[in-house]
Amino acid sequence: MKRNEWTAIRANLFKRRWITTSKGFIPAALLALLAVAIWQIVVVAADVPAYIVPSPAEIMAELLAESSWLAADLGWTMLEAVLGFLIGSCTAFITAVLFVHVRVVERAAFPWAIVLQTIPIVAIAPLLTIWFGYTLVPKVIIAAIICFFPVLVNTTRGLRAVSNQAMELMNVLSARKASIFWRLRLPSSLPYVFAGLRVAATLSVIGSIVAEFTGADRGIGYVIVQASYRIDTRLMFAAIALSSLAGIVFFHVIGWIEKATLRWPEARLDED
């Protein structure tokens, strides 16, 4: 086949792919638009007072009016979330590697990882605030704790998801432990690791906001608490919308990194 024909086919494939992926968003966007429209109509028609449920238009106006300082608070919250995410995920990853290589560590530590998971974070957040004050630290710790478990469980599963036959191949080649880890266990675990990271990304935002509720002088959680004292429903809704948007963006950033890292076909665990 001639070169330009190939180029044409590739261009065509690319275009088709782009259309299908952007098409994927359309139903969800339409649904959101519909919901917002109904909300707006109901609020206006029933004349609901803004301090109970503001209309989407009012929320939007609030967002735009307060955007400069809301952005600063959002940035602060995201800093806490991302730091917690990085610390929690890295710790979980290293723990999983230990679990897989030293069985006794898993037997000793895994039950306690479950215990940690069952402690409600809203219960430990005030304690951490007593210890560390109105600083970044309690929020990062909470976000890290909340990220830890999903990454731990997924990574452990991924590192074990190695077929017996692949292990036999490595054994025939007399591969050393390090070699087995880097060339077999790690790459085959990556799809699982990323599945865990995507969950952790959204949880980390929730974690840092919850931690802010119990003691903070800035951040989206702080904004929500302050607005609730003043029954500033519009601001509360605006903050909620922003934090959920931030969670979605974080989720997709991890998704993009995953896509760029896992290049082989059928690598992503939940690809449709």
Binding site: S163, Q165, A166, E168, L169, M170, N171, V172, L173, S174, A175, S179, R183, L184, P187, S188, L190, L262, R263, W264, P265, E266, A267
Partner: protein, 265 residues
């Protein structure tokens, strides 16, 4: 390379393998074999008779329940850790995150200096092997983008890259069409004749076994026992047309009848 010393081959002495569990299976029973270095040995037998198990015992991947295995004077386990074996598994066992060429180069990456072909020209060798098995142009494809037969040819190129002294091949050409299979059979004989490797070759095709091998071992199922060892009388090099000669046909039917009567016992 000079032919290896006959005494330094593979010796199996009353090897038995029983798989435990709720209903134990005797996969191999009282298997004794002497395979001189440089021999091409084919193994045939019905499905489930223990052919794969036999290869895994020889390669040191599986410890026999009873009996001993020695390979070039060492234990199988020792020979395995000295990377004496090239194993083509029944499934291709490719790494999905590596492209075809990367899979072929995997042994070199793992072995490093322990690979006799290691050096700046290894990648060129990998490309040549891929051409030899008919996969030129597919170097950059991922395994998921290759057909089953193409995947098994990648696995073949992968085992040839490190020139192991003993090749254990578990139905390597089972997923291939007849023409490709013929071509690869000739190529395998070529490799074998040049490097004088010892080859243990499992196949379901009696014809293929006779065409390739010096001797053909016939196994019976449950328990897996050696029912017959046939010496193939044909001289080498063997042309593909050999298969249409009467002597070839009569040996084929003799082995086939052995396999058939065996199913009744």
């Amino acid at each position: 390379m000079s032919p290896r010393d006959v005494g330094s081959g593979i010796v199996l002495d009353s090897v038995g393998v029983t798989f435990g569990g709720e209903n134990p299976v005797i996969a191999l029973e009282d298997v004794s074999l002497e395979i001189p270095a440089g021999e091409f040995l084919a193994i045939v037998g019905p499905s489930g008779c223990g052919k794969s198990t036999l290869l895994r015992v020889v390669s040191g991947l599986l410890e026999p329940t009873v009996g001993t295995v020695s390979v070039h004077g060492k234990t199988a386990e020792q020979a395995r850790s000295d990377v004496e074996f090239g194993f083509v598994f029944q499934d291709p066992v490719l790494f999905p995150w590596l492209r075809a060429l990367g899979n072929v180069l995997l042994p070199d990456k793992i072995l490093g200096k322990r690979n006799p072909t290691h050096g700046p020209q290894t990648e060129e060798l990998a490309r040549r092997l891929m051409r030899d098995v008919g996969l030129a142009g597919f170097e950059e494809h991922y395994p998921a983008q290759l057909s089953g037969g193409m995947q098994s040819r990648v696995a073949l190129a992968r085992v040839l890259i490190y020139e192991a002294s003993t090749l254990l091949m578990d139905e390597p050409f089972g997923a291939l069409d007849e023409f490709t299979r013929d071509r690869l059979n000739l190529q395998l004989l070529d490799v074998w004749a040049r490097a004088r490797t010892t080859v243990l070759f499992v196949t379901h095709s009696i014809q293929e076994a006779i065409f390739l091998a010096d001797r053909v071992v016939v196994l019976s199922p449950r328990p897996g026992r050696i029912v017959h060892v046939a010496t193939v009388p044909f001289t080498r090099p063997r042309p593909l047309e050999l298969r249409y000669e009467p002597a070839f046909g009569s040996l084929t039917s003799r082995l086939r009848s052995l396999l058939e009567t065996d199913g009744e016992s």
